[in-house]
Amino acid sequence: MQSGLPFSSQQIQIELPVNTAALPFMPDASQQSSTTASGNQSAPSEDFVRLFTQSQRPLYLFILPLVHTTAVADEVLQETNVVMLSKWNQFEPGTNFLAWCRAIARLEVFRFRRSRHHRMFLLGDDVAGLLADEMEEQTSDLEQRRDALTECIGKLRAQDQELIRRRYSNGTTGDNVAQELGRPANSVYQSLGRIRRVLLECIRRRMSVGGVQ
């Protein structure tokens, strides 16, 4: 995975997500190239659906650092899902499912990044490539981290818990929260920053106690 190119497309052998079965309204001629994958027509197997469902959170967490907002991460995740579902029978059972879908997600991230001219808030391609590599080597401790996070939130002061709850409830932003509370946006950002810091340190402590290095 340490290839020189960030998001090298050779990392994954899927062709375009052209699935003629899903396209009864395809133009008559010329475009219906050589998409063969006849098996695509059947619905994904139960096993696949189970793996697919489990993969959603890790995939989302894989995509988020490579784009710039949660909304975009959602969008890219959806694109990734569409490709995964149309390619489901190209997955070989027994191999690493998460690696398979990360590779697809990586391509989708790349496509998203290329489709946007104004990349003002995006990290550079090279940095994103490094981050993706980093995450691909990551040990899969996301579950433990999530449990740790839940515990750590429980230890926060009540008003901090409340602030986090407000900030992360249904797509609000720090600005909305500031408005709701009638506080200056800046001070809300500072509080949120402080709380995230506390949470990070708390999680780190728990993870090391738990023995995962």
Binding site: Q41, P65, D74, R111, S115, M120, L131
Partner: protein, 716 residues
């Protein structure tokens, strides 16, 4: 925690709140590049943020895409409210406002149903899991084709700006009989091109095939799935708007749809290209480009228009038209071509230089008047002035002549001075004075050469090694047909500006030059390509990847909806109203009325390019506000009366009236939702009115609602 780590976390926090400044972003990047521990921390922190976001349900959940709808449905409410405000104070009662608003909302719902049907077809073809996201995500889709154009009005150079075609008020009456003349097709022509061949000849089918091959290559590179082929209703509307600058009449559209010929699209294109209305449409477009819509500089708009019309009617090679415009001499009323330069010779002919470069060469040189181009390393200040030097000989003189009515009318004379103007001097930013000679494409004229500099420029353009005139015309025509050019903006070509389809632009440029700058053939290649046959209903999996409105590279995987130009709106409203009432599209309302109407939107600026701004964003409420005057107030009830004349007699009278006005305005059948609204309205009215009056009033309301919809003012 190290100081650097600490700082990183501060930046991460800003990242999570989308508050990073561009400097901080750069800082963050260099930290992340610098070492692995930093990257690990960044990932750790952002994933912490992501866990919180996911658990709170910002994440889509473990299921399929389904939540984008709420993000994008905003426009419909918006439209309704703007319409509401337009209607206030007009003759309509508040309940009717509600009806019109409901109709509009339903108009978009109808489109949803249409897409929903695609999703259902997919169910039956056995793709089960995919169906769910489709039927959900479709909800935001119709907003795009129908409404987005009016809401993105502020976006840079709106596509509507590129597309300014339209016909003059119909020169001849068009009546009942099937109107689409069918030309015997050339032997080699095919609508569906076969991809995969390399054009070796100058033959239309090969060039069209090459367009489709190169466009399809862009799709596969980007994993984009093209839209379906547009149905006849959708296509015939776009075809008329593109070629003649207005929607088809009911008769034109229905006779096209009813035709059985498998090659009918090619036949219609060929017929329209030969039609006078095509020439008129191009003449309006180019007249607007050359001298603008407002007449503030005393030039003779009519004479220029007549000149252009003559050129386009006989399909004169574009290079010759360009040459005529640049080298024109004589009186502004006798040689219409003179008006182009007469409009731009002010201010040391710097506007003439800039506009010539922009329109004919596709180059933006206006900034290099004062300094070298900041980004384009190949653009230097001296080039501006050496191009400017070609116009230095041109002089204008004012005559005052009496025309027939005894009115005194200013007439200008454009001619070259007898002697050579010598060197052209300019100042650099550092205050140095420099001097240049006329020079283009490496050919300079000597200072004492007394021959016509403008004629020399024309000669150099025709032999230009880069074929810039062809390239600029190809790029502009492409954007007129497809909504976006190969570059953005379309008239700023050069090494500094990326080209979306470089190979295709090159091929079309060469083919266009080889065809002896045949404008009709160029238009034919584009409109007969498979790409032009596509629907504006984008495949939803391709929305993110092919979204030029968001600044992405256009891949032309669907027809991009765009706002009509004001001339198109004007003409289309006329067509819609008159053809609903089954009246001939006569030319009794001259082009003068349309010009006055359009001028209300135009604001001129005395900048270096004699810029003007079009305060027209395709927003129908704006158009209606103006149309709501006499014209529409009287036309709508008369039309409704005409439409419903015999409606109360037959059993399907109510439905037929609705169908008639839907076809006349939107060139499609009414949707179920629209029908329901219409029937309810009719039922409500018939409680207090006799049936014929009830149906007439309901039809009036519905016609008003249709004309008010964004669907009506889009080219899609």
């Amino acid at each position: 925690m190290s100081h650097a780590q600490d700082h990183l976390i501060t930046l991460c926090n800003l990242w999570c709140e989308e508050q990073l400044s561009s400097d901080q972003l750069i800082e963050l990047q260099s930290l992340l590049r610098s070492d692995r521990a930093m990257r690990a921390t960044f990932v750790e922190f952002v994933q912490l943020h992501g866990q919180l976001a996911w658990d709170a349900g910002i994440g889509v959940g473990s299921q399929l895409p389904n939540d984008t709808a709420e993000i994008r449905t905003v426009p419909s409410g918006d439209t309704t409210s703007s319409i509401r405000s337009v209607r206030q104070g007009s003759r309509f009662s508040p309940q009717m406002v509600a009806v019109a608003a409901a109709c509009l909302v339903l108009a978009s719902i109808a489109a949803i149903n249409f897409r929903g049907m695609n999703a259902l077809q997919m169910v039956s073809s056995g793709v089960k899991l995919e169906v769910k996201p489709n039927s959900d995500t479709t909800i935001h889709q119709p907003q795009d084709p129908l409404l987005s154009s009016s809401h993105d009005s502020a976006s840079q150079e709106s596509p509507g700006d590129h597309l300014k075609p339209l016909e003059l008020n119909g020169m001849r009456p068009s009546t009942g009989s099937p109107e689409v003349p069918v030309n015997p097709p050339a032997a080699n022509d095919t609508v569906v091109a076969t991809p995969g061949e390399i054009p070796s000849t100058n033959d239309d089918a090969t060039i069209i095939a090459a367009i489709d091959r190169l466009i399809a290559a862009g799709w596969s590179e980007n994993g984009v799935i093209p839209a379906a082929t547009a149905d006849d209703h959708e296509w015939v509307r776009r075809c008329y708007l593109t070629l003649t600058g207005r929607i088809p009449t009911v008769n034109e559209a229905s006779s096209f749809v009813a035709r059985q010929s498998p090659r009918k699209r090619g036949e219609l294109v060929d017929a329209l290209l030969e039609d006078q209305r095509f020439a008129e449409n191009l003449s309006v477009t180019w007249s607007n480009l050359l001298i603008g819509r407002s007449n503030t500089r005393g030039v003779n708009q009519d004479a220029l228009f007549d000149f252009l019309l003559k050129q386009f009617s006989v399909n004169r090679p574009w290079m010759e038209t360009v040459g005529d415009l640049i080298a024109a001499e004589g009186r502004s009323d006798q040689n219409g071509a003179t008006n182009f330069l007469l409009a731009h010779l002010n201010d040391k002919a710097t506007p003439a230089t800039a506009v010539t470069a922009r329109l004919f060469l596709g180059q933006q040189v206006q900034c290099t008047q004062c300094h070298d181009h900041p980004f384009a390393k190949d653009r230097h200040q001296d080039e501006f002035w050496s191009l400017n030097a070609f116009f230095k000989q041109a002089e204008r003189q004012k005559l005052v002549v009496e025309n027939g009515d005894g009115n005194r009318q200013p007439v200008w004379i454009l001619k070259d001075s007898e002697k050579s103007p010598g060197m052209t001097f300019y100042d650099t930013l550092r205050g140095q004075q420099k001097a240049v000679l006329p020079e283009f494409d490496g050919h300079a004229m000597s200072a004492d050469d007394a021959s016509s500099r403008r004629s020399e420029l024309v000669r150099l353009l025709a032999t230009d090694s880069h074929q810039l005139v062809a390239q600029a015309m190809v790029n502009r025509t492409w954007s007129q047909v497809f909504g976006y050019g190969f570059t953005n903006p379309i008239d700023d070509l050069g090494a500094h500006n990326p080209v979306s389809h470089p190979e295709l632009m090159k091929l079309l440029t060469k083919s266009f030059a080889d065809s002896d700058y045949d404008v009709r053939r160029l238009m034919r290649w584009l409109t007969l390509s498979q790409t032009f046959q596509l629907s504006s209903e984008q495949d939803e999996r391709s929305v993110a990847a092919d979204d030029p409105q968001e600044g992405g590279t256009p891949l032309f995987s669907s027809a991009y909806p765009r706002s009509m130009a004001p001339e198109q709106v004007y003409d289309s409203i006329r067509i819609a109203i008159r053809s609903a009432a089954d009246q001939p599209i006569d030319s009794s309302i001259g082009s003068q009325h349309r010009r006055e109407w359009v001028e209300q939107f135009v604001q001129s600026y005395g900048t270096d390019e004699n810029d003007e701004q079009l305060a027209f964003d395709g927003n129908i409420s704006q158009a209606m506000l103006l149309m709501n005057g006499q014209d529409i107030q009287t036309a709508i009830p008369l039309t409704a009366a005409e439409v419903t004349k015999s409606a109360h007699v037959g059993p399907n009278g109510v439905t037929k009236s609705l169908e008639r006005i839907a076809m006349a305005t939107l060139n499609r059948e009414p949707s179920e939702g629209e029908e329901k609204v219409f029937r309810n309205r009719y039922r409500a009215l018939s409680r207090s009115l006799p049936a014929d009056q009830a149906i007439r009033t309901a039809t009036e309301d519905m016609l008003w609602a249709y004309l008010n919809s964004s669907e009506f003012t889009s080219v899609h």
